[in-house]
Structure formats: C-alpha cells, structure tokens
C-alpha cells in the first residue's frame, strides 16, 4: 500500500484556487437592488473579475454558492432576515476556501463586534469599493481559508 498518496481533491482547500490568468468569480449579496447594480458595474470594470451571480438575501446566497462556487463573496452587513454576519459565518463554514468580504455603509466602529469573528476576511465600506480595492483584497486573501 502506498504510504503517501497525492490528494484526490483537485482543489484542496489550502491551495490557491484561482491560478494566475484565471478569472475571479464573484457573488454579490445585498437586499438593495441599487447597490447590486453598482457592484455589477464595478466588477464588469475590473479585469480578471467576473460576476457569477447576485443574491438578495443570505439564504439565497448560501444556496447559490453551492452551485456557482464563488471565489469571492461580497456580503452586505445589514440585511433583512438573515443578516450579513450570519451569512458570512455559514458561507465560511460551507466554503472555507471562499474569500468572504463584509460590506457596509457604516464605519467599522458602527458595526457589531461579531464582524471580526464571523469568518469574514475583511470588512469594507461600500463607498470605498473600486477595482483597485477588489484586486488588493483578492491579492491579500486569495487561497486563505
């Protein structure tokens, strides 16, 4: 019996998933259509990033993630029903290799204490989002479980 075997999983959780040159699949989760539109425009304008899908609730996002397997998920903190923290926590538990980023209008200090421990890689202000910021976030956290 072989003592060591190569991992059978083609995408081990610890390994970088988006190899250089491959595009980063993004899932946007926000109950506000206005912002989802803005996010779509932003991602379209960002080279190497592609919008896989949009979700208007946490529950919808978790179901979509199982199908589209996003690399990066942008989750709004304040949502009706399941809020951003709960969504981020479950998303991270179900897809450990996916980079989950919480987004909000509020400053970090106006956000719940739980944002640090819910599995989100980063917390960003919506108004600060730009192609450059997306690339930086991805560069920092890519492959980070």
């Amino acid at each position: 019996m072989p003592v060591m075997e190569a991992p059978t999983d083609p995408r081990p959780s610890a390994a970088p998933r988006a190899t250089p040159g491959a595009r980063v699949g993004v899932l946007v989760v926000d109950d506000q259509a206005v912002f989802r539109d803005a996010a779509r425009e932003l991602i379209d304008a960002t080279p190497d990033f592609v919008l896989l899908d949009e979700a208007s609730s946490g529950e919808h996002a978790l179901a979509l993630a199982d199908c589209v397997e996003p690399d990066l998920v942008l989750v709004d903190v304040w949502m009706r029903g399941m809020d951003g923290l709960a969504t981020a926590e479950r998303m991270h538990a179900a897809h450990p290799s996916t980079v989950v980023v919480l987004i909000s209008v509020a400053d970090r200090c106006d956000l719940p204490a739980g944002v640090a421990s819910c599995g989100a890689a980063e917390v960003l202000r919506k108004q600060d989002l730009s192609p450059a910021l997306l690339r930086r976030v991805w560069a920092t956290h890519r492959g980070d479980p």
Partner: protein, 624 residues
C-alpha cells in the same frame, strides 16, 4: 352624609297640631298616674281577705304594662301601642274591683274584666304598632266585640254571677249583680249563653295566639325576634284559658280551677314582659347589626364585599345594593357596574335610599321587615359607602395614572417605531443610492486618471463631496435610530456609541439579552443623553463609564469624573425631563446622583423590563 328614607321624617305641622300633640303627649302619663292610684286604692281596700297570688297579679297586671308603656313613651311620645297598654292596665285595675264586697263595685269590676279580656286580645294582635294590619286580625276583633256586646254585657241585666273568676276573691260567695233585673237566670242564659261565651273566649284566644305564631313564622328577621316571645306567651295564655274554663265548668271551686285560674291572672303581666323582651331582642338585633358591620367592613372594601357585609350584618341574604352614577343623567348600576332598572319596592322587599351631599348615591333593597329601621339601614350603608367611595376614588386615581402612563408609553413606542422606520428608509433609500453613486464615481475616477487626466482632479473632489454627504447622512440616521440597536441589541449599540463618543468612554454592557424595542430604545437614548450631558457640562472630565446590567430588570449607570454639581440647586434640563418621562412610561425610574467635586451618576432602573410589552398593549377592558 345625611340620611333619607322613603317613609321620611315627620312632616312639619302647623302650630295648632303641635299644641294638640303636646296635650296628647301628657295624657298617657296622666293615665299612668291614675292607674297607679286606682290600683293602690283597690289594694288598700281589700288587702286583708285577698290571696297572695291575686295580690301579686293585681300589682303585676298594672305595673308591668305601665312600665313597658312608659319605656316606649319615653322614646316615642305618640306611641299608640303604649297608650293601648295603659288602657288595658286601667281595665285590669278596674277588674280588681271584683275584690270589693260592695255589690255595685263588684259588678263594675266583673264588667271591666270582660272588657279587659276583649281588650287584651286587641292589645296582643296590635303589637307592636298599636293597629291591626291584617283582615284576619280584624275579623278576630270583630268576633271579640260581638261576644262582648251580644254575649257578655247584656247578661249584666239578667244574670247573677254564679261562677267565680280568678281575679275576684269571693269564690262562689260573691256580691249580687247590682244591675240584674231578675233574681234568677233564665235557663237559656245558663245553658246556652254562658257555655257559648266560654267557648268563644277560648276560640278567640286560640285564634289570637295562632295569628301571632303565624306572623312570627312568616315575618322577616326583625319581626321574628319581636313577635316570638308574644306568640309563645299568647299560646300559653290561650292554653291556660281553655284549661281554666274547662275545669271551671267541671268543678266551680276545684283545686284545678283555682290553680289554673291563678295562672290566667298572670296573662297580662306575662304578655307585657314578652312585649318588653321582643323589643329588647329587636334592639339587640340592631346593635348586633352595627357590630357585625363594623367588624366586616375593613377600610379597603369592594362593592361586592360591602354587599356581603350588609347582607351578613342584616341577616338578609337577598339584600341588594344598587348605585347611582353621578351627573345629571345618572343611571342605576349594580355592584359590577352593569346598568340595572331603578330599584322598586315589591312584596317583602323595601328600598332605602342613601344620599350624600344631597345627592342620591345608592339604594338598598332589603327585607321589608327592616323598613322600620331605615335610619339604621341607611346609616350603616352610608358609612359603608364612605369606605367604598374612598376605595373607588383611590382605584380611579390609580387607574387613570396607570392609563396615563400606558398611553404615554404607547405614544413613545409609536414614536420609536416611526424613528426606526425613518432610519431604515434612509438606509435603504437615499443612503444606498449615494453609496452606489460613490462606487460608480470611483470607476469613473479610475478611468479618468488613464483617459482624461485633466478632469481627474475634479472627479476626485466630487468623490470627497459624496463621501462627506454619506457620512452626514449616516450620522443623521444613527441619531434617529441606530441600525445596530434594532439589529443587534443594546450591547452592540452601546459599544459602538462608546467608540464614536466625543469623550473617552468605557462601555460595560456585554452579553445583554434582547428586550422589547421600546425598552432597548429607552435605555439606549437615556445613556446617549447622559453621555452628551457629561461631554457638554462636566468640567474637568477625563472619561465616562456606561454600565448596563441585568438584575431581573435592566439597570444602567452613566458616571463621569467631572466637577459634579448640587442636584438640589440645578433644575432638570428638558432632555432630562424627557428621559424621566420615557423611563416612567416603561415603569422605570431615573435618578441623578451628584455632588460638587464628586462627578455625576445618572442611574436608571426598569424593574419589569420584560413585561413592558404585555403591560403596554393590554387594554383596560382586557384587564378588567
């Protein structure tokens, strides 16, 4: 409280009537005097040959009825029954003339004795009012009068008196009838009139006793007590009368006739005593009534308890109390507040009205038997009503305060809901559009740096403007209602507020559970107000500590280490007054503790924080 009753007090009379009244008041006393003198004279005259029981009966038959009559006259000078009693005592005194050896006096005594026997029946039946109330009684008296007029008095003209009577001391050897026109009795008088008279006398006395027993049996609480002794004595009297007349017709001067005859001598004194005992029992009942009422009525009495106490005290389980609502369109309501028909007198039930300050307040529907005691009933009831009124006023005050506090709480809760809605609308609407605008502007900005550098600077300035607008709007929305408070509760909201406060702030509010929104908002805004006050007013301030803890309810303290002040000399600011109101509305309290040089502590307490929602939306109807 003044009292009133349907029977009312005495109507005012003209002066003429007053003079008549005083004359008629003196008459019975004069009669009493005559009676006593008459009895004394009769006794002195015949003392040597009269048997002891007869002497005792002579005196008792005069003195006891007079004593009872005097007792009644003292309380009520117009008492008709007392006058009747005196009349009967006078007849009894006249009957003792039969103890005389003189033929004329003896004859007058015999005639008086007949009238006495008839009057005694009337006296018994007319107790206690002095009048006959029932047809049955009037029929009986008609029979008595018939016997007297047809069978007794006419025999004065024809008959000798062969039979002894108990009150006379002569036995079978008595003076002759002074009025007799014949020396021998016609046979039909001896064989028909006398036996018939004796029989009817027994029938009349038995009928009177039966009537009294019946009245006592069907009578109400008071009547029973009043009549029972008289009914018992009348029964015993009727029995002894029957036995005496029976034994006398068997053997004129036998021992049985003499002994039972002596017993019948004491009929009048015994009746007088039972009148007295009846009146006494009735008095005891009234005293007992008041005592029971005083014992049963505590200072906190409900309408139901009042009714129970009155029913118990008056021994009238069916007693009802109905209340008159105040105002020009007053209605009658029962003890539970339901409208009821106006109380009416009906068979066996009387109505006594209770007034206070000239207004009709209540009516008691009670045993008609107590009608004679309306004063007592009304006094007892008005006393009790005072207690009830006090209790009701206290209840009303408490209820209106409760209602006020609840309506204030509802207003505040409604305002809170509106604030949450506005904050949410801002977040979902304008704020999101601005943020989307800002993100798109970022894209344009990035592109312009590569494609149109000259306008890139202008676009950068636009970005800054939009950022500032977003920040302002965010601060505005947070001031209206922090999203964090609604979403995550007090712990997170207070921590966030502490982080962005204008003065260094330590927040110790970890692990608080969730509370109804009006409670969380109250505590949050109270802490914010205190925090702002500290930042604004506390000189020499280095920091503020906010502590919120759960101790069954919610307890919070905002303390600063500023200069402090003397709370007695500084009036509450509008903000602080508002805070007190807010806390009061959810059943909480707010206290400011401060002293010069000792900093300031704002201490709030909501003891029943979880129940607030339930209390707040409970309608008065549901509560009742």
């Amino acid at each position: 409280l003044d009292l009133d009753s349907r029977s009312g007090g005495e109507a005012l009379r003209p002066a003429q009537h007053l003079r008549d009244a005083s004359l008629s008041r003196a008459a019975p006393w004069a009669a009493i005097g005559c009676c006593l003198a008459f009895a004394a004279a009769a006794l002195l005259r015949t003392a040597e040959d009269v048997r002891a029981p007869v002497i005792v009966a002579d005196l008792a038959g005069v003195l006891l009825p007079l004593a009872v009559a005097a007792f009644q006259l003292r309380r009520d000078p117009a008492n008709r029954f007392a006058r009747l009693s005196i009349g009967v005592a006078m007849l009894w005194a006249a009957s003792t003339l039969t103890q005389s050896d003189d033929s004329l006096l003896y004859t007058l005594g015999r005639a008086s004795y007949w009238v006495y026997l008839a009057a005694l029946v009337y006296l018994m039946l007319s107790f206690p009012e002095g009048t006959l109330s029932a047809a049955r009684e009037r029929r009986l008296i008609a029979l008595v009068a018939g016997v007297l007029v047809v069978l007794a008095l006419p025999t004065l003209l024809v008959a000798q008196f062969p039979t002894p009577i108990p009150v006379a001391s002569c036995g079978t050897d008595c003076p002759a009838n002074a009025f007799a026109l014949t020396s021998h009795n016609p046979a039909f008088v001896d064989n028909f009139i006398f036996p018939l008279r004796n029989l009817l006398t027994v029938v009349v006395y038995a009928g009177a006793a039966a009537t009294l027993v019946d009245r006592a049996r069907v009578g109400g609480v008071v009547t029973r007590r009043l009549l029972a002794p008289v009914a018992a004595t009348a029964t015993a009297g009727a029995l002894s009368m029957a036995v005496y007349l029976g034994s006398r017709s068997a053997d004129l001067s036998g021992t049985a006739a003499t002994v039972v005859g002596d017993i019948t001598l004491f009929l009048l004194p015994a009746i007088a005593i039972s009148f007295g005992v009846g009146v006494l029992l009735q008095r005891l009942y009234v005293a007992d009534l008041l005592e029971r009422l005083a014992r049963d009525l505590t200072s906190h009495v409900s309408a139901q308890e009042l009714r129970r106490a009155m029913a118990h005290a008056m021994r009238d389980p069916e007693l009802e109390i109905v209340y008159r609502t105040a105002g020009p369109h007053g209605r009658w309501i029962d003890e539970n507040g339901w409208p009821v028909a106006a109380p009416l007198e009906r068979r066996g039930r009387a109505v006594t009205e209770v007034r206070s300050d000239g207004y009709l307040r209540a009516a008691i529907v009670h045993d008609a038997d107590l009608a004679a005691y309306r004063d007592v009933v009304a006094a007892a009831c008005s006393y009790a009503l005072t207690a009830l009124e006090n209790e009701r006023l206290a209840d009303e005050l408490a209820a209106s305060l409760r209602e006020l506090s609840m309506s204030r709480a509802r207003v505040i809760a409604a305002a809170d809901r509106e604030r949450r809605r506005i904050a949410r609308d801002l977040h979902d609407g304008a704020q999101q559009r601005l943020v989307a605008l800002r993100a798109k502007l970022g894209l344009v900005s990035e592109r312009s740096q590569e494609e149109a550098p000259p306008i890139a600077a202008s676009i950068k300035r636009l970005e800054d403007d939009v950022d500032a607008t977003i920040d302002e709007m965010r601060a505005f929305a947070r001031g209206i209602y922090p999203a964090l408070l609604g979403q995550r509760g007090l712990s997170d909201a207070l921590r966030a507020a502490g982080r962005s406060a204008a003065v260094p702030t330590i927040v110790d509010a970890g692990g608080l559970s969730r509370y109804p929104p009006e409670i969380e908002a109250t505590v949050y805004f109270a802490c914010m107000e205190a925090l702002q006050n500290a930042a604004k007013h506390a000189r020499g301030l280095s920091g503020v500590a906010v502590t919120v803890s759960e101790n069954g309810g919610l307890h919070f303290v905002v303390s600063d280490d500023g200069a402090g002040f003397d709370p007695d000399t500084v009036r509450d600011s509008a903000g602080l007054t508002n805070l007190r109101d807010r806390l009061a509305a959810v059943g909480g309290t707010l206290e400011i503790r401060s002293a010069p040089g000792a900093g300031t502590q704002v201490v709030g307490d909501i003891p029943d924080a979880r129940a607030t929602r339930r209390r707040l939306w409970q309608t008065p109807a549901a509560r009742a």
